[in-house]
Symmetry: C2
Subunit: 300 residues, 2 copies
DNA sequence: CGATGTTCATAGCTATCAGGTATCAATCCG
DNA sequence: CGGATTGATACCTGATAGCTATGAACATCG
């Protein structure tokens, strides 16, 4: 027979009361089975824990050493159940989060701040990455949720938009149009070299840029490609060309670059969250609850 | 119903195997009761620990959080039983030790050294004190064993001699007899003032000194009393008088004091150990085993 | 100094439940 | 689609935690 927590609970009660009768009362059992269980515990350990002299119960040295341990084990068990409950509510645990670099300039910071505040014991592992790599990482379980650019077409993944914004023009400060006050007519850029990212990385955004220009009556002359938005802005600053970028990228605050909203109504570019549709991770549920406007569990 | 260690043992097995059948085999039980116990554990916690999909068993986040806790609780329980066993063998615990100051110059140091080496996890609380106070402290449980001077007459206490030594004369360095080579005739001190401690503190030693002098044909002229041997030697150094002290006190090495063995055969003075006759403290047993020449448990 | 009360241990019984066997149901694989 | 695998279910059994009654040792008190 093995030691069970029952033995520890009983022993602690007896050690605290130093009286089998009262201890039994406290444990809501009768005295004989309590004596039996204590005896069983002692036999199991091969150690006498209590000295019973028919009249007085006293702890042996081994008993008082064991008492401390027993108390700690019981407390630890309490802690473990609380921890399990908190974990099941998504209040402790880990969550691996992917994000495209642009998310870092709008949705990501306030959301992380709120998440930290609501569930400080959840550890977030953040991985900057492109949309397509994030989708693969989601499927393979390397991340649990990703800030991505649409579209997300895999049936195993769920997607919800969490942010929409317009496009603005980024001009080198010495560009003739940069001095002009107020809004800008997009058609004025028809002859300027454009900097853009490769289409496969974010087809929707790429297409938005191109069709925006089409609507203004020209097709952009693509001079240079770059993967990260920050790089694009750097290239603008280096006077390689102009670019159409999400409005929040203004926050980059790069010197030598001027941001201007066109007069033509801009299409919306969007960022969304993607996650495994059937994922039951408790921490993910909490994350989605915080991130998504209305309550949307993974299965909803 | 309460959580028991059984539940934790079973859960850890399942979590490690991720397979109810193999886990059951490892636990030497059949699979159905294992499933039942896991379910009972989950109900108890109010938390799902495992995701069973009829084909694959996986840990939930709560499950992996709980797994770590469960492992630690089980390990802790192992530790606790080992600790209890070691404590019952007197290898861990405490022991309160009293000692007369003279013991510090002969028996105490080597004995403490050996004890430390044999049972390093036992904490010794050392209390320098007189014999009579130690006897009271033993009765009242403030100390568990004492280095005392005989006699010990209380029936509740056991006593065994552990050290015997002769008396030597302590002389001021400028005393006429201090220059003399070789041994000293005790009678030569018949006119010197003596320093001695109050008789109630150590009757046997006091009487040994006085009868030693009587045998040499004189009665010592007691000039000054002092409680501690170190004080007596200090007074000798201050040329207040001479003293007869246990030979090991030479180790005090006080400057200005010369130690000389008399030619007359010296009576023996002794130090012994006293403890509660019925005391079952495991650490005391170990202490006595190390301290006493032959094996002598308290009840022996 | 016996009477009484207190306290832990023992004896015998009961009821609960851990664990066994047999089987089902869902899923996977060839 | 059939066999294999695996967790769940149904039902039964045996071990044992816990109960009541009682005993034995000891302390206290009239």
């Amino acid at each position: 027979m093995n030691i069970e927590l029952r033995h520890l609970r009983y022993f602690v009660a007896v050690a605290e009361e130093l009286h089998f009768g009262r201890a039994a009362q406290r444990l809501h059992i009768s005295q004989p089975p309590l004596s039996m269980q204590i005896r069983a515990l002692e036999e199991n350990l091969g150690v006498q824990l209590l000295e019973r002299t028919q009249r007085r119960v006293a702890l042996t040295q081994a008993g008082s050493a064991f008492l401390g341990e027993a108390r700690q084990i019981l407390a630890r068990t309490e802690q473990a159940t609380l921890l399990a409950r908190r974990a099941s509510r998504g209040e402790v645990g880990n969550l691996a989060v992917g994000f495209v670099s642009t998310a870092d300039y709008n949705v990501l910071p306030p959301l992380l701040r709120e998440f930290r505040q609501r569930v400080p014991a959840v550890h977030l592992a953040l991985h900057e990455s492109t949309t397509d790599r994030q989708l693969a990482d989601l499927i393979d379980g390397r991340i649990d949720v990703g800030f991505v650019l649409p579209p997300v077409e895999d049936a195993r993944l769920a997607y919800r938009t969490i942010h929409r914004e317009t496009l603005v023009v980024a001009l080198p400060a010495r560009h003739p149009l940069a001095r002009q006050r107020g809004k800008l007519r997009l058609a004025a850029l028809a002859e300027s070299p454009f900097i853009l990212f490769p289409r496969p990385l974010a087809p929707s955004l790429y297409d938005a840029v191109v069709s925006y220009c089409s609507a203004a009556g020209f097709s952009p002359h693509i001079e240079q490609e770059a993967v990260q938005m920050q790089t694009i802005v750097s290239l603008v600053s280096a006077e390689i060309g102009v670019a159409l970028i999400p409005a929040s990228l203004r926050h980059l605050g790069r010197t030598g670059v001027v941001y201007k909203a066109p007069v033509e109504p801009s299409p919306f570019t969007e960022i969304g969250l993607a996650w495994r549709r059937d994922d039951a991770l408790a921490t993910l549920q909490v994350f989605l609850e915080i991130a998504l406007p209305a309550g949307h569990g993974a299965a909803t």
